[in-house]
Subunit: 161 residues, 2 copies
DNA sequence: TACGCATAGTTGAGCTTTCAATATCAGCGG
DNA sequence: CCGCTGATATTGAAAGCTCAACTATGCGTA
């Protein structure tokens, strides 16, 4: 804590712009999905992950890994999604501790009908503001940050609990 | 909804990297602040905004604008911060509807002691991963996104209620 | 003055997330 | 086979956020 090495002017500007922009973008996406599809972004991402999985189902652990979510959060979320009829649970035959989450027809239908509006909002909130070069740059930067932050992080790899 | 104009490969990569990176970064910051300072990031930002204001106080509306928060969220947050002894409320003499939020000594002390750890985590999670050029680029891109998204947004400018 | 409407801020209910248990089961060494 | 350790998943309570009222006040206008 001695000499905390403060932020330079460039860093300060970047950090504040980052904070502001990410907040606005995520709020827009949340609002759009909640309004048009009746679910928060986190649940949409769960449905996407399931829809891209073999047979539309995944083990809870894998699903948690894909969505970078804690097991606890996922459990609650799946409970809610099950209640909505978008997902069902299936216990794993080979490992009695395990459970699969399976996308239902209704869940897939909801996802399909929600996707265009969501993609539209992603464009409107983020991509449309940028040139093709900026999109590529942002992708590289974010990929770097993602790898770096996950690697050097004490709490992101080793989940909760 | 006809022809939703899907994402290109570049856009898809960028979007997914963006989602992953922003999620990891915000989780790291949240955890660090919660662990070391006993408050979520949103509350820390409120304290920062107050500490930078004249006399350490701001009208609720202005504070909401600075922190890009809804009035409702801010009300709840200030109630909590007041309960912690970090902020006090003062009713506005010239407009009896209005209220000021004022940073207390204890609040400032908490902020000062939390700041180095927070800055360290900002570096560790985001800045250290990037070259100086990338930091500058990211700043420009995020500034663009912030302006664009706030401008063309139906729900970000006109707050809640 | 009285009416109407907009503004500032608060409140309560419902929902999601987090954190700390808890229960169940797999794998392994004795 | 028994017991131990670690992994899988769930649960309940507490906290924060969102949404929709609601209160109280300012302000323009007839």
């Amino acid at each position: 804590m001695s000499e905390p090495r403060w932020l330079t002017a460039d860093e300060q500007r970047t950090w504040r712009a980052y904070l502001a922009a990410t907040k606005v973008v995520s709020e827009r996406l949340d609002r759009q999905l909640q309004r048009d599809a009746g679910m928060p972004t986190a649940y949409y991402e769960i449905l996407v992950a399931l829809s891209e999985a073999d047979g539309g189902e995944l083990r809870m652990s894998e699903l948690a890994a894909f969505t970078r979510s804690s097991r606890s959060r996922l459990s609650h979320a799946i409970a809610r999604l099950e209640q909505n009829g978008w997902v069902t649970r299936r216990s794993c035959p080979t490992d009695k501790r395990g459970a699969f989450a399976t996308l239902t027809e209704a869940g897939l239908a909801t996802l399909v009908s929600a996707a265009p509006g969501h993609v539209g909002e992603v464009r409107a909130a983020l991509l449309d503001a940028l040139t093709a070069n900026q999109v590529r740059h942002l992708g590289e930067i974010m990929a770097t940050v993602g790898e770096h932050a996950s690697a050097g992080c004490p709490a992101a790899s080793c989940d909760d609990d």
